[in-house]
């Protein structure tokens, strides 16, 4: 049986209790994962400075080079996994088996992570706006115009409380190590695979293992990480986001409520954008915060919803090994049913129509012995104030909302990714100025087509470093 230990600053630690990771369809035990407890984390974090010190024995450029090597190891090599080893193919298979994500999506996410690692130099160059990287090692330097600058690390170790159901998020923590900051991960209970494989790939590439902690474990581990790391990131629902709002130590990533909006100037051409809309709703089984959950249009809502529904409505579950498999399974019993009930309740509104219903052969909810599926659902919503106008679920789900263009920004709420199809300069200006939109795409960009040289939900450089004043000599005289 595969056993995966806790990693405490690079050292494996076997706990008294282990938690099984099981196959979502068969219930077969795939691995036993050792479990950290909160006290261990609190104890270890007292040594976090050592991780930063060890990483600073290598230059950022060297660490970037190691990341590039690690990218190749990650996608190509058989790497250690607990008390065994794992090939890339085994990795995809087991990740699919525990998360319910089809294998081809696991492979896609694997490639995405490898891409970011391979291009770490370019990513950091973009995120630091081209600053000399030794500024982050030394804490100060010169910007290039004779101006001294200082970027002070806000933490010796950065914690990440990771989800179980979305392997795509792992790209976000990859820059931490080359920035010479200790990495503390709490893997999701059914997705230990990516953090452990990435750890082994990085270690094989020469990155000191003492820079890593991996703490699979119960909820108290997440709390302990957020309590003891001066900077940490957590993934969760809206309640998690609300709980940590205003806490500078914690970045909470929640639902994206990502949207496509078509301007009045482009709406007559709506048929040209159907594929873009379908893909944005459907890719990665709608599981990402960057998957679209809303299509906002000034008119033709019924027609657009119908066109999307014709494409998505007939789609049903397929075997996880099928390259055409587009629906991820819900591996926790009751979750899909609860979502289905919420949608059914929402559809009782006179403003809401489930347009996919007529294109489905059967119910939205498919219950199997050990897992459930929700088939793609497209709603036509005629009232932008209706609850279903701005809702997100973890499957291909979207609301086509009819809303006048001049009301969009007032009604759309927080939007992680907004793809705006418009050439209307005034509307574009309003979109650019809107602070409730995080990532803005002006043009035909699918919501999930994110450029890795762009910051995501805040620039990680600003999260991990503080731009503060730094002088080595008095300023020039102020008299004029």
């Amino acid at each position: 049986m595969l056993e995966i230990p806790v990693i405490r600053w690079g050292q494996p630690y076997e706990s008294m209790e282990q938690s099984p990771v099981v196959h979502f369809e068969t219930g077969e035990e795939l691995a036993k994962v050792h479990q950290a407890n909160g006290g261990i984390i609190k104890m270890d974090m007292r040594k976090a400075k050592k991780a930063r010190d060890i990483l600073r024995q290598h230059s950022i450029e060297d660490l970037i080079g190691m990341c590039e090597k690690a990218a190749a190891y990650y996608v190509n090599d058989e790497l250690p996994m607990g008390n065994g080893t794992q090939t890339p193919e085994e990795f995809c298979r087991i990740q699919s088996a525990s998360t319910g994500l089809p294998e081809h999506m696991c492979k896609f996410n694997m490639g995405k992570s490898a891409y970011v690692m391979k291009n770490m130099g370019a990513v950091l160059d973009a995120l630091t706006r081209g600053l000399p990287l030794d500024v982050f090692s030394k804490g100060y330097g010169e910007e290039g115009r004779g101006i001294k600058i200082s970027y002070q690390a806000t933490t010796n170790a950065c914690g990440w409380v990771l989800p179980s159901n979305s392997p795509g998020v792992h790209t976000l923590w990859l820059p931490v190590i080359p920035l010479q900051i200790g990495l503390v991960l709490k893997p999701g209970s059914s997705e230990p695979w990516t953090p452990y494989r990435m750890f082994e790939a990085m270690v094989k590439a020469g990155i000191p293992r003492e820079a890593f902690c991996l703490y699979p474990g119960p909820h108290e581990c997440g709390s302990a990480i957020m309590e003891t790391c001066e900077r940490s990131t957590i993934f969760g629902g809206q309640a998690t986001v609300d709980q940590h709002a205003g806490n500078p130590k914690v970045a909470a990533h929640g639902p994206g409520y990502s949207k496509i909006v078509i301007g009045e100037d482009k709406i007559e051409d709506w048929e040209q954008y159907i594929d873009l809309m379908v893909d944005s709703l459907y890719v990665n089984s709608g599981r990402s915060c960057i998957s679209a959950s809303g299509i906002w249009v000034p008119k033709y809502g019924a027609e657009i919803a119908d066109a999307i529904a014709q494409k998505l409505g007939p789609i049903g579950p397929k075997p996880m090994t099928d390259p055409e498999s587009g629906l991820a399974a819900f591996t926790t019993k009751g979750v899909a049913e609860a979502m289905n009930n919420m949608i059914e309740e929402g559809c009782k509104s006179s403003a809401v129509t489930d347009v996919t219903a007529k294109y489905r052969d059967g119910e939205r909810l498919i219950e199997e012995e050990r897992c459930d599926f929700l088939r793609p659902t497209v709603l036509h919503v005629t009232d932008p104030d209706d609850e279903m106008a701005n809702t997100e679920f973890m499957f291909p789900f979207g609301s086509v909302v009819e809303c006048p263009q001049d009301k969009f920004l007032k009604k759309c709420g927080y939007t992680l990714v907004c793809t705006a199809i418009t050439d209307d300069e005034d509307f574009q200006r309003d979109l650019i100025d809107a602070t409730n939109i995080d990532r803005l795409n002006l043009g035909e960009v699918r919501t999930y087509q994110i450029h890795w040289m762009q910051p995501h939900e805040g620039n990680i450089i600003d999260f991990l470093f503080r731009n503060r004043a730094f002088q080595t000599e008095p300023p020039p005289p102020t008299e004029v």
């Binding site: 706990s15 008294m16 209790e17 407890n37 006290g39 261990i40 609190k42 104890m43 309590e227 709980q243």
Partner: protein, 363 residues
């Protein structure tokens, strides 16, 4: 005496205790008002039909909601009604808490427990720190009595767990942490004030917080003078036990797990044995209380050894009679031990059917 002999003797003692306690609680003049009223509805006569422990199965399961509200002395035999009485509460974050009226039971429970503590680590005459809930809880007075019984003085802190539960339910995590820090501040003041404190009760969370505070101040539990600790709660897991021994306390500080509540008193942990691999096994303070591990679907049926079931509790003292109460915990049934020659329970954890709605680890 072989273990089998000891087991047999222990069983006989429980049978004898059962009869004695039932006779008292159902005595027409001296009995407990609650049980005398209940007896009117039974199709058996407790005074004549309860002749051994197994006869307690004739009683319906005890509903702990009956412990809410007054008069609180209705469970206390009238024989004790003219004695000075305490009332201890449990739970009570919202609504009327469950309560128990006591004369001497808490003293007796802890005097019995005292016999299990090694003098080497809990030196008689040394002082104690009680790092646990205060207010209307029994634990506060019981630990103080334990310390006094062993010739010491007990130093206590203020700790209101109901406030902590409220903070956690409102998601005010930072405030809960501040409250914990406030409790640890009190402990640090006591421990650094030359009080010759060697013994301590602490909850796992508070012990951990205290140990880490001491480490931050370049000291330790051992350095501050503590030699013996008893701690309790479902958070006292094998993993935490190991972590605590290996990383918080070191080899020279003794810690023993306990499992208890206001109804039962205090169950003792099986003495530490490296061969147990940190498995924690509790034994009820028989014959004053009995713990069974019973089938989830049939609470009258004890599961086999090493099998999992729900914890069922019986209290058989002169002040309280509970003929079968379903605890909020589950665990595995364990074989009798030389020191405790009756069934034990290991791996206690919140009963899986109600675990999701329970707020644990509040202090």
């Amino acid at each position: 005496m072989t273990l089998d002999d000891k087991v047999k003797a222990a069983r006989e003692a429980v049978d004898k205790q059962t009869v004695e306690i039932v006779q008292l609680h159902f005595h027409p003049e001296d009995g407990a008002p609650y049980w005398l009223e209940k007896a009117k509805g039974y199709d058996f006569d407790p005074l004549t039909d309860v002749n051994c422990f197994d006869d307690l199965k004739k009683f319906p399961l005890f509903e702990d909601d009956d412990l809410r509200g007054g008069p609180v002395d209705r469970f206390l035999p009238k024989k004790w009604h003219n004695e000075p009485r305490y009332v201890f509460e449990t739970g009570g974050t919202t609504g009327t808490p469950k309560s128990r009226c006591v004369v001497r039971d808490h003293w007796i429970d802890y005097e019995e427990f005292s016999k299990t503590l090694p003098d080497e680590y809990f030196p008689p005459g040394s002082n104690w720190l009680m790092l646990g809930p205060s207010g209307p809880r029994r634990l506060r007075l019981a630990v103080e009595h334990l310390c006094q019984h062993r010739g010491g003085i007990c130093f206590c802190v203020d700790l209101d767990p109901r406030w902590v539960v409220k903070l956690l339910k409102k998601g005010k995590i930072d405030e809960a942490k501040e409250y914990s820090a406030h409790v640890i501040d009190q402990a640090m003041t006591i421990l650094t004030s030359n009080h010759n404190i060697k013994g301590m009760f602490a909850t796992p969370k508070l012990l951990e917080a205290l140990a880490l505070r001491l480490i931050d101040e370049e000291s330790s539990i051992e350095e501050i003078g503590i030699t013996g600790i008893f701690a309790g709660g479902t958070e006292f897991t094998p993993q935490w036990y190991r972590f605590c021994k290996e990383e918080l306390l070191g080899p020279n500080v003794y810690i023993t797990p306990t499992y208890g509540n206001t109804l039962m008193g205090l169950a003792c942990g099986k003495p530490f044995d490296p061969a147990d691999n940190f498995k924690i096994t509790y034994y009820a303070p028989q014959p004053r209380a009995v713990v069974e591990v019973v089938n989830f679907d049939n609470y009258d049926e004890v599961v086999d050894y090493d099998e999992t079931g729900r914890v069922k509790l019986y209290t058989l003292t002169h002040e309280l009679f509970i003929p079968g109460f379903m605890e909020r915990d589950e665990g595995e049934r364990e074989k009798p031990h030389e020191k405790y020659p009756w069934d034990g329970v290991s791996g206690t954890r919140p009963f899986h059917e109600i675990a999701k709605s329970t707020t644990v680890g509040v202090y």
